[in-house]
């Protein structure tokens, strides 16, 4: 794995990865956990905090977390400027630095993709399985979760939209055509989730590998 030595996640030269990942996981897991809590009707009543701030307020809360993420990310980039300057001094080319940041973004995007997909899937699943009144709560949660990830990755909006449309289409197809038993069940939801994660992982893996090869080529050969 000689070629990977320069990449960010092995050497942590370019990114305060540990700090950012900790924030990312913590907030994403909190949101996912709250999704699950809200899913179980009885648990909502018990989880008084979530019950009190349901609906629009919950959306605003999530959006605030998203904005917080965005600010932390910008701040981190600002702090890394000094390191970029040092790396330029010891012979790193500009294209290599830019590509490195893109690679790191790609990794985050991959994690965010899985998180976003899981969150959105829960919302849509709830829409199909429960009544519309209850759905309002989940819709707010879904939109706000989506908002957070869109804030994090501008380019992720396309991925998110495609996932949502894809999921709707498949669920409609299942119900209309009586495919896979004709109902939206836990099994076929999990089937779609697994399929999505597999395809997405392969795509990201290929792109990441190509980008790493490019990075190593550009490393010392890039123009100043």
């Amino acid at each position: 794995m000689k070629g990977m030595l320069f990449s960010l996640h092995t050497n942590k030269i370019f990114w305060k990865r540990e700090k950012m990942l900790a924030f990312f996981y913590l907030c994403s897991l909190t949101l996912l956990l709250s999704s699950i809590l809200l899913y179980c009707g009885e648990s909502v009543k018990k989880a008084s905090f979530l019950f009190c701030i349901k609906g629009g307020a919950f959306g605003i809360l999530c959006l605030s977390i998203g904005l917080g993420f965005f600010i932390v990310w910008l701040q981190s980039i600002e702090e890394r400027k000094e390191d970029f300057f040092v790396l330029r001094r010891i012979g790193t080319s500009k294209p290599a630095l830019i590509l490195s940041v893109q690679l790191e973004m790609l990794l985050f995007q991959f994690i965010a993709g899985a998180m976003a997909f899981a969150s959105v899937s829960i919302q849509i699943y709830m829409y199909l399985r429960r009544n519309r009144e209850q759905y309002q709560l989940y819709r707010m949660l879904g939109l706000s979760n989506g908002g957070i990830f869109v804030l994090w990755f501008g380019q992720h909006i396309v991925n998110l939209a495609i996932t949502t449309i894809g999921f709707y289409s498949i669920m409609n197809y299942i119900e209309k055509k009586q495919f896979l038993g004709g109902k939206v069940t836990d099994e076929n939801t999990i089937f779609f989730l697994v399929l999505y994660v597999c395809v997405y992982s392969v795509l990201v893996g290929v792109v990441y590998r190509l980008a790493t090869i490019q990075l190593n080529r550009k490393n010392l050969k890039g123009a100043c």
Partner: protein, 210 residues
């Protein structure tokens, strides 16, 4: 080895112009050690940065082994990585990383093998007597220790030229002497040429060791 002719450098701030280097000529032979003395703002750092390929002169020529460096910009990164070691006054280390990773950084960038990196780093830390610091983060080190790490990093690729911009500027007398001794030893032992930019008021203390 190095020849600079008629170098001119002017900095512009809003409408004002500051001429730092004015028709400067400079020659350095292989294995030579040179101290550039001058007051703050006299252009020592600018000259070192031009030699270290971190700045472009406004006018003049720069030849390295009879090759026109200013016409081969595509090779600058490789030269900065392999042929030139640069020690800064502010150490310019990657603060979030360990001493090992900092020293190894130029070799990571050059895609050297893990074994080669390990051997070189271990050899460097013994030379500079910083073996105990290997696993520590740079932010945990004292000024003198950080400067020794910076010199170890600058020397890890065994460059032909070592540039030191006020390497003792922010150190106390004891640590400053140690750093100057290290530079002196490096010069005596290897083939590297060394250029050190030193403030005028410090020259009495260090000119002897140079």
């Amino acid at each position: 080895m190095i020849e600079l002719k008629n170098i001119q450098k002017t900095y512009r701030e809003k409408e004002k112009k500051y001429s730092v280097l004015h028709h400067l000529n400079f020659t350095l032979q292989q294995g030579e050690m040179v101290a550039i003395l001058g007051k703050s703002g006299s252009g020592k750092s600018t000259l070192l940065q031009i030699i270290g390929l971190l700045e472009l002169p406004d006018e003049g020529s720069y030849h390295w082994m009879d090759k026109d460096v200013l016409k081969m910009k595509r090779k600058w990164n490789k030269m900065r990585n392999e042929k030139i070691g640069f020690v800064m006054q502010d150490y310019a280390l990657l603060k979030g990383l360990s001493v090992y990773d900092n020293i190894a950084a130029p070799m990571y960038i050059a895609n050297k093998s893990r074994d080669e990196i390990k051997n070189r780093v271990l050899s460097a830390v013994e030379d500079f007597q910083i073996y105990d610091l290997l696993e520590k983060r740079v932010s945990q080190l004292s000024g003198g220790e950080q400067q020794r790490v910076a010199i170890a990093r600058a020397m890890i690729q065994r460059p032909q030229l070592l540039l030191a911009d006020e390497p003792t500027g922010s150190l106390d007398e004891e640590n400053a002497e140690k750093v100057m001794e290290t530079l002196h030893k490096l010069h005596e032992r290897g083939n590297s040429s060394v250029i050190a930019g030193i403030l005028n008021d410090m020259c009495e203390t260090y000119i002897f060791s140079l």
